[in-house]
């Protein structure tokens, strides 16, 4: 990394000054009777503890730079993302955890392999400085889109079950009968990402780009990375939601082209 000389390292005192901002919110919450003081205090403590713990773990992993440590970290990240995606479903789908785990693992692995191996060409591939933040961004997008698509699929299947049954009764296969709902869910999951591409950089600077600029990169160098990030997030969104919705839709159907209404 170039221009590291320009980075201002934050001291503990400077961090403490930032806490004044939280104190200000707590004052607002008290005066406006928002009742958020407790949560704000807990949130602040959690943010400090979690980020500190992650910092320590990352520092250790960066120092060791062993591929198996990287894989372990990626595995834990995927596990947490899977749980988060499943917990956002309105009603539990049997096997949803496995479906989400497969969808997130495959979509993240495929996108990550392409970005690391072909686009950025990191050598060795497990260089933690690159693979951890990139994997995190991909996983985050896959997770959000899978949850969004899954939630929409559930509500659509429930609301349009008569339409599905009418198609089945006309001799359509189960897959054909749920196709309109699958498509609607995929669209719902992808629209935020597509809209995000439209306004990227205009409304606010993306987090990664901001971080790179703060860390001393030139804006022109940072936007190149940001472009890669935008495109890979698009791919992760599409792949994650596609795999999740296809597999989840299958859970609502039987091999005899029947809709499992009792699951809705």
């Amino acid at each position: 990394m170039s221009a590291t000389a320009n980075i201002i390292d934050l001291s503990v005192w400077q961090l403490a000054m930032a806490l004044v901002l939280v104190a200000a919110i707590i004052v607002v919450s008290l005066r406006q009777s928002l009742g958020l003081e407790r949560d704000l205090a807990i949130g602040t403590v959690r943010a400090i503890v979690q980020l500190y713990a992650v910092g320590l773990i990352l520092a250790a992993v960066f120092a060791a730079a062993r591929w198996y440590w990287i894989l372990l970290i990626l595995g834990v990240m995927t596990g947490v993302a899977t749980q988060a995606a499943v917990s956002r479903l309105g009603k539990p789908v049997p096997g949803a955890t496995w479906i989400a785990a497969i969808a997130l693992t495959v979509s993240t692995a495929a996108t990550l392999a392409y970005v690391i191996g072909v686009v950025v060409q990191v050598r060795p591939w497990y260089e933690p400085q690159y693979i951890i933040p990139i994997a995190g961004m991909i996983l985050g997008n896959s997770m959000t889109s899978a949850a969004l698509a899954g939630d929409r699929l559930q509500s659509d299947l429930r609301a349009r079950s008569d339409e599905i049954e009418a198609r089945l009764a006309l001799g359509f296969s189960g897959r054909e009968a749920v196709e309109p709902m699958v498509r609607a869910s995929l669209r719902a999951a992808m629209i935020p990402t597509v809209n995000g591409m439209m306004t990227v950089g205009l409304v606010q600077l993306p987090g990664m780009m901001t971080g790179q600029i703060l860390a001393g990169s030139s804006p022109l160098g940072a936007i190149r990375y940001q472009m890669v990030v935008v495109f890979m997030q698009g791919a992760a969104t599409a792949l994650g939601s596609l795999l999740f919705v296809r597999m989840a839709a299958g859970r609502y159907l039987t091999p005899a082209h029947q809709l499992r209404r009792y699951m809705l």
Binding site: E163, A169, L170, G171, H257, Q258, L259, Y262
Partner: protein
């Protein structure tokens, strides 16, 4: 239409036998439907117990005849109807169509032979024509203009409706379009799931008239669920009273030798038995 689509796998012991949906050796004297000891449970889960929907139901429907299922709501009538075209899989027991276990047919082909008209008519996006012609890719049939017009006429709709947006039709028109859609597939049997209950009285009457006319002209086998005494009388045939998933009474409207069960008598007199102590 004798290609691989009409062929299906029939599991017989360990062997797999291919045969046509309407087997060439199908005996015209075979009942169209034979239901034996049919039971249906919805599986339980961590948060809810197993729900019993049907319990040991048996009956038969002769070719060209009609059977009407009546009973309180939640008594399993609609589920029973859906067991006949395999939209619902029974937990135990058998359903035979044309003398063959329905499990031996491709469910998609079975459903084209056993058409279902649902309580709330489902119109897909597009015109009436789109709705009449909708079919899975690769499925053939006569969907010519003349046939569409003739079929619309059969259900009492004018031919000019064919280019109307389906969403703009009245409830009664929509229901008759769904009946026409079913007829275009040349079904051997028609399953009617409360076809008039979502309609206002004048529209309901039109649909009742359409159905009773079809019954006479097409010699269709019909299994119907209805709460409407008028439709029951016009359909004739057998009357099966279902309560809490069990057959409580059967009566043939064609012979007058048997004593009519009190509940059926009340039903035919126009009393609403829909709310009577059923499961919902």
């Amino acid at each position: 239409m004798l290609g691989s689509r009409r062929r299906c796998l029939r599991k017989f012991g360990g062997m797999t036998i291919l045969h046509e949906v309407v087997p060439p050796d199908c005996d015209e004297n075979d009942p169209i439907f034979e239901v034996d000891h049919l039971s249906l449970d919805y599986p339980g889960g961590r948060s809810h117990p197993v729900v019993e929907i049907l319990n040991d139901v048996s009956f038969r429907v002769e070719r060209g005849h009609t059977l009407t299922l009546v009973g309180p709501s939640g008594s399993g009538k609609s589920s029973l109807l859906r067991c006949l075209n395999r939209l619902v899989e029974p937990t135990s027991g058998t359903v035979r169509f044309n003398g063959y276990d329905i499990g031996s047919f491709d469910p998609r082909e079975l459903r084209r032979r056993v058409a279902l008209v649902m309580q709330t008519p489902v119109m897909f996006e597009g015109t009436v024509r789109d709705n009449l012609c909708i079919r899975p890719a690769g499925v053939t049939g006569d969907f010519s203009e003349n046939r569409l017009v003739a079929t619309l006429d059969e259900v009492g709709l004018e031919s000019k409706l064919v280019d109307r947006e389906a969403a703009t039709l009245s409830g009664g028109e929509k229901q008759r379009v769904t009946i026409a859609r079913a007829l275009l597939r040349d079904p051997q049997a028609l399953l009617l799931d409360e076809p008039t209950s979502a309609l206002d009285p004048p529209n309901a009457l039109l649909v009742v008239e359409t159905i009773s006319r079809l019954r006479a002209s097409r010699a269709l086998s019909i299994v119907a669920v209805t709460h409407q005494p008028d439709l029951v009388r016009r359909l004739g045939g057998g009357l099966l009273y279902l309560r809490k998933g069990r057959v409580e009474a059967f009566h043939s409207l064609e012979g007058s030798d048997t004593v009519l069960d009190a509940r059926l008598q009340a039903f035919l007199a126009g009393e609403n038995i829909a709310g009577e102590g059923g499961r919902t």
